[in-house]
Symmetry: C2
Subunit: 202 residues, 2 copies
């Protein structure tokens, strides 16, 4: 039989996280307060503070409690297709409510709160980086990537432009953007010697 | 002769912006208030509100009033060197106080405040994008870039990984990182046909 005290505590945690998400969507993260979350969840504010030492850490747990639909790479043997699949899922997540705006607020908070920044990396960014790295390492071993490609940069290169669009230019994240990015990142900016030769011979 | 009323107004604006920067560095942006800035500048809070409708827009003006040392591309004829020069200047700016932490707070604020996001793009990001585009367009015309390289992606590709490191992983921004990025972005992730042939023949 489950420990009923632990179950009640888990249920209460779930209620508080759902209340935080509801309120963040209603009033915006800037106006979210622990007091208001506690009132919405029907608990005392000390119940919230016992679990989360700051509004930012509560919000982090709330956002990361949402289903991301899975951002793990498959290995179909075609690295470009497998990378594209995950990037398309990522833009569908980042570019739309509820996840997109909530995640944007979370990253905003991480700029002022080092604890939120550290927890976001440990719980969300690092697992994705490791998964991407594993997929690309296998592709490299199969000769599908440039033999000197710097794998440690891979996640920065693939996701940096997405984050740039999400956080800086705030232009829409589309499947077309992903297709263009993948084409450019795989091909590289320099002329290919074979292309140059082909162009020269025309 | 200069209009002395306009000069006094400019001086007052400068005093307020300096007060905002001093306070942001002392107490952090999260605790910055218009009241405190007004008190530090020795003016009434309505004097501040007459010029800036929000704390975020005041902070934007304050950060953008700092000298960035110039982020325009030279055209020495070597596109890789010219791009590297600007990226190195950018990481020196973004990776160190005072600019780095202040800019990070500004981007954080842009996540919650659409007016700040729009002004940041119009006044800081768009001019840099245009300058980068002009340099790369000239390189493309001279055959130093892949003939099918998607110029509209160039700024996202070059700066996205920097912003990713600054805002997400918060790992140090170094010259070595720039060198590795430039190498990877110019070469591309796919094997080069000539390399593949060379590897195959060994």
């Amino acid at each position: 039989m489950p420990d009923s005290r632990a179950t009640r505590s888990d249920e209460r945690t779930g209620t508080i996280l759902r209340a935080a998400l509801e309120l963040a969507r209603e009033v915006g993260y800037a106006k979210l307060s622990i007091e208001a979350v506690a009132a919405r969840a029907g608990v005392g504010k000390h119940t919230v503070y016992r679990r989360w030492s700051s509004r930012g850490l509560l919000f982090l747990d709330a956002v990361l409690s949402l289903d991301t639909g899975g951002l793990a790479h498959r290995d179909t043997g075609d690295v470009v297709a497998d990378v594209r699949e995950v990037m398309v899922k990522a833009v569908d997540l980042l570019g739309r409510p509820p996840w997109g705006p909530l995640y944007q607020d979370l990253v905003g908070e991480a700029q002022h709160d080092p604890e939120v920044a550290a927890a976001l990396n440990r719980r969300f960014i690092e697992p994705q980086t490791a998964d991407t790295l594993a997929r690309l390492r296998s592709a490299k071993e199969q000769g599908q990537l440039a033999p000197d490609f710097d794998l440690d940069l891979a996640f920065d290169i693939l996701s940096g432009p997405l984050y740039f669009r999400l956080l800086i230019t705030q232009e829409p994240l589309t499947h077309d953007y992903i297709d263009r990015l993948i084409r450019a990142l795989f091909a590289g900016m320099s002329p290919r010697p074979d292309n140059a030769a082909a162009n020269g011979s025309r």
